[in-house]
């Protein structure tokens, strides 16, 4: 009976195991296999073992250093913007007010848009000739002549960061708001009685209470931002001169312009290794597991 009991959860989990195996396990293993093969879609009858050739090719690519740095900037700044603005949004929506439901519905909309629409919209907003952003900056006298945001290596990456940050704010907002609403009011009251001021209440009571949510949300978002390619592809296509590519968009462009899926898979495997290291380090540093125990 005991043995049966132990097995029971696994029996019921079988469908999910199967789904995971088919939709995650197989592509993952296949990606690793491709990374070590000469695999060009147009030469499928000529697939050979490549050893580490594909990985070597990555490190020999002249653009890869700049693109890695771009990726780092892209992830850090997008995440920081989303976290801070998402937090503010959640705090603003915490207390009930008239029309909160409607307001909530509207501000959470960006999350529901596809990257394609967000990309096109921001491409238009940042347009140097007709874009409203240039127009507003000019009218307020902040700039003296139009700036070509998408056409300049200095700004192109930032336009993409802003677009993606805008899209991701609601997600942080939703997650943090849910966590805030579950903070025990008794704890806050106790802190007030003990003479804690607003900042102390926030730092010593609220933050520890919502920490697990924060950690999971940050971790998830980092991975999603890192893997995001659609907005870049649409807004700048990595240009000018590759200055707004990140590893994900570069991988996508390479995969479909060279049809060299071996090379693209090697990039993908490197991604995965990088992400695993990041997640392990992140969990360790934030003491996520210990907190749980």
């Amino acid at each position: 009976m005991n043995k049966k009991k132990k097995l029971e959860p696994h029996i019921f989990m079988t469908p999910s195991y199967l789904i995971l195996l088919v939709f995650l396990g197989y592509p993952l293993l296949n990606c690793i296999r491709l990374a070590f093969s000469n695999y060009k879609i147009t030469q499928l009858n000529n697939v050979t073992f490549a050893g580490f050739d594909n990985f070597l090719k990555i490190f020999q690519d002249k653009e890869i250093a700049m693109i890695s740095l771009n990726t780092f900037k892209f992830v850090i700044f997008t995440l920081a913007l989303q976290l801070v603005l998402g937090f503010i949004l959640a705090m603003a929506l915490k207390r009930p007010f008239r029309g909160r439901g409607i307001y909530q519905g509207i501000v959470f909309l960006p999350w529901a848009f596809s990257g394609f629409i967000v990309g096109l919209t921001f491409q238009w907003l940042f347009n140097a000739e007709y874009g409203p952003i240039n127009d507003i900056l000019l009218k307020f006298g902040l700039i003296s002549e139009k700036i070509s945001f998408l056409g300049s290596p200095k700004y192109a990456l930032w336009t993409v960061i802003i677009a993606l940050a805008w899209q991701g704010i609601p997600f942080f907002g939703i997650m943090i708001l849910a966590a805030l609403q579950s903070v025990d009011a008794g704890l806050v009251e106790a802190a007030v009685i003990d003479g804690a001021n607003a900042f102390q209440r926030f730092w010593h009571v609220t933050i520890p209470c919502i920490k697990p949510t924060l950690i999971v949300t940050i971790m998830l978002r980092t991975i999603w931002i890192f893997n995001n390619a659609d907005i870049i592809y649409i807004m700048t296509n990595g240009g000018p001169a590759n200055t707004s590519h990140t590893l994900a968009s570069y991988m996508f462009t390479k995969a479909y312009s060279t049809l060299d899926f071996g090379y693209a898979s090697a990039l993908g495997v490197l991604f995965m290794v990088g992400m695993i290291i990041y997640v392990c380090a992140f969990v360790k540093v934030t003491k996520y597991n210990q907190e749980d125990a």
């Binding site: 019921f12 879609i41 347009n127 000739e129 290596p153 296509n237």
Partner: protein
């Protein structure tokens, strides 16, 4: 215990219903076939859909389906930007549509992957084969396909070539006429004269991204007499003439005759730039005529033939999408019947009218839709006795990477001042030389990309 039973029951019910659904689908499929008799389904995919084009296709398909009760053509489409990726994915999954529209640029990939069916046997019995116009027959079918790949795999369905769209009202204000724009020199001069930054008015619609470098290449190749490679496969652009032409063309952007944003301009942006009154001269293909007719005032614009190079010839391009038949098709004879139907001269004219192509079948010479108005500049370019079709960059498999990720970036680096013209040209030239020479070793029988005249003769 009750709960356990319940959950087991639920899982069982789920499995049973899933199984039943699977079986059920099969059954209905079988029934469908029985009731419909022997109707064979042909999937047809368009890769550059727009409303007018889709309507023309839908009408022709309906016509075909009515006349051929044993075949049912089903229309599918995918936006141009995603079409290459989509077809490649379908091809590698073994589920390409029976007939699809394919672009010349994919020739090398699609033939080497064996995704297309050789059509020569079908063409031999084709009743309309002798009605194809000379350029299409000599250059697009004989020279580009048979000569290079040894067989024909695509039937062109409508010709498109480049011409210059110009703002006639701006020319007038600047004291210029369209005759001043007959040569590339004239285009450069006029771009300068038409540029008035204070009025937000720029001479040239410069395409800096998304295959923009190809437009620069058109001028550079023209100044090289249309010759891209030496006999041994060395690229000829890294030469004083090549570098001079490169600098001259890029000066359109660097000297401010195009807006700064133009470095990020692709097709959409450059066309918008012209139609919205930002740029005065636009190098584009004939489908843009419709956009201009819709959004610009009559009498403010026109099209003129593609400019002549300094040797007096018009070096340009004229290609067509192909109707290709997938090698994965199970109903090839029916698929051919559909292609044949689409190319009946009257049907081809219908499609060309809707898409603003030059028809590939004879008989359109007297149709004012193709000889007057916005189409005139294009037809005149094609009819010019000095018209020379520029060479392709190559047939090597690296072509996609070169065009989509390498070429633009190298040109952009020069436009941004990140490297010199000589460095950019050297990188581009080295890339092409390496790829071409490697390809020549692997496929010694494939000819070197060369310029061709309308009669199919090479420019040596």
């Amino acid at each position: 215990m009750k709960k356990k039973l319940l959950s087991i029951g639920l899982v069982a019910a789920l499995l049973v219903s899933a199984f039943a659904a699977g079986c059920g689908k099969k059954n209905t499929d079988g029934d469908d076939k029985k009731t419909d008799g022997k109707v064979k389904e042909i999937r047809f995919m368009d890769v550059t859909p727009n409303p007018a084009r889709e309507q023309a296709f839908q009408e022709l398909i309906k016509d075909f389906n009515d006349k051929n009760p044993d075949v049912k053509v089903v229309y599918e489409s995918t936006p141009w930007d995603q079409s290459h990726n989509k077809l490649v994915t379908l091809g590698s999954a073994g589920s390409l549509p029976d007939v699809f529209i394919m672009h010349q640029q994919w020739n090398a990939e699609f033939t080497s992957a064996e995704w297309v069916t050789p059509l020569d046997d079908y063409i031999a019995d084709w009743k309309d084969a002798d009605k194809i116009i000379p350029y299409v027959k000599n250059v697009l079918m004989e020279y580009d396909q048979k000569n290079v790949y040894g067989y024909t795999f695509g039937i062109p369905d409508g010709l498109t070539t480049a011409a210059m769209f110009v703002r006639t009202d701006w020319l007038e204000e600047a004291g210029l006429t369209t005759e001043d724009l007959e040569t590339w020199e004239g285009i450069f001069e006029a771009s300068k004269k038409l540029t008035i930054p204070e009025k937000n008015q720029y001479g040239f619609a410069f395409r800096g991204a998304r295959m923009g470098s190809e437009q620069m290449g058109m001028y550079m190749l023209a100044e090289l007499g249309g010759k891209l490679y030496e006999e041994d496969g060395t690229c000829r652009i890294n030469s004083p003439e090549g570098i001079e032409a490169f600098k001259k063309y890029c000066a359109l952007y660097k000297d401010g005759y195009a807006p700064q944003d133009a470095i990020n301009w692709g097709y959409t942006e450059m066309v918008q730039g012209f139609t919205s009154g930002l740029s005065g001269i636009l190098n584009q293909t004939s489908e843009v005529v419709a956009t201009c007719e819709d959004s610009m005032e009559d009498g403010t614009w026109t099209t003129i033939p593609f400019p002549r190079a300094s040797d007096g010839n018009i070096y340009s391009k004229a290609d067509s999408y192909y109707m290709a038949m997938s090698n994965q098709s199970k109903n090839k004879d029916e698929a051919w019947r559909f292609i044949e139907f689409m190319l009946e001269p009257e049907n081809n004219r219908k499609l060309s009218e809707a898409c603003l192509f030059i028809p590939v079948m004879e008989g359109a010479e007297n149709d004012p839709r193709f000889t007057e108005g916005g189409m005139k500049g294009f037809v005149d370019s094609m009819n010019d006795p000095t018209f020379i079709r520029e060479p392709f960059y190559g047939y090597f498999p690296e072509l996609g990477e070169f065009m989509e990720t390498f070429y633009d970036a190298e040109v952009q680096k020069y436009l941004l001042g990140q490297q010199t013209a000589e460095e950019s040209i050297k990188n581009i030239s080295d890339y092409l030389t390496t790829a071409q020479q490697k390809y020549m070793q692997e496929s010694p029988d494939t000819p070197i990309p060369t310029s061709v005249r309308t009669d199919g003769s090479e420019v040596k």
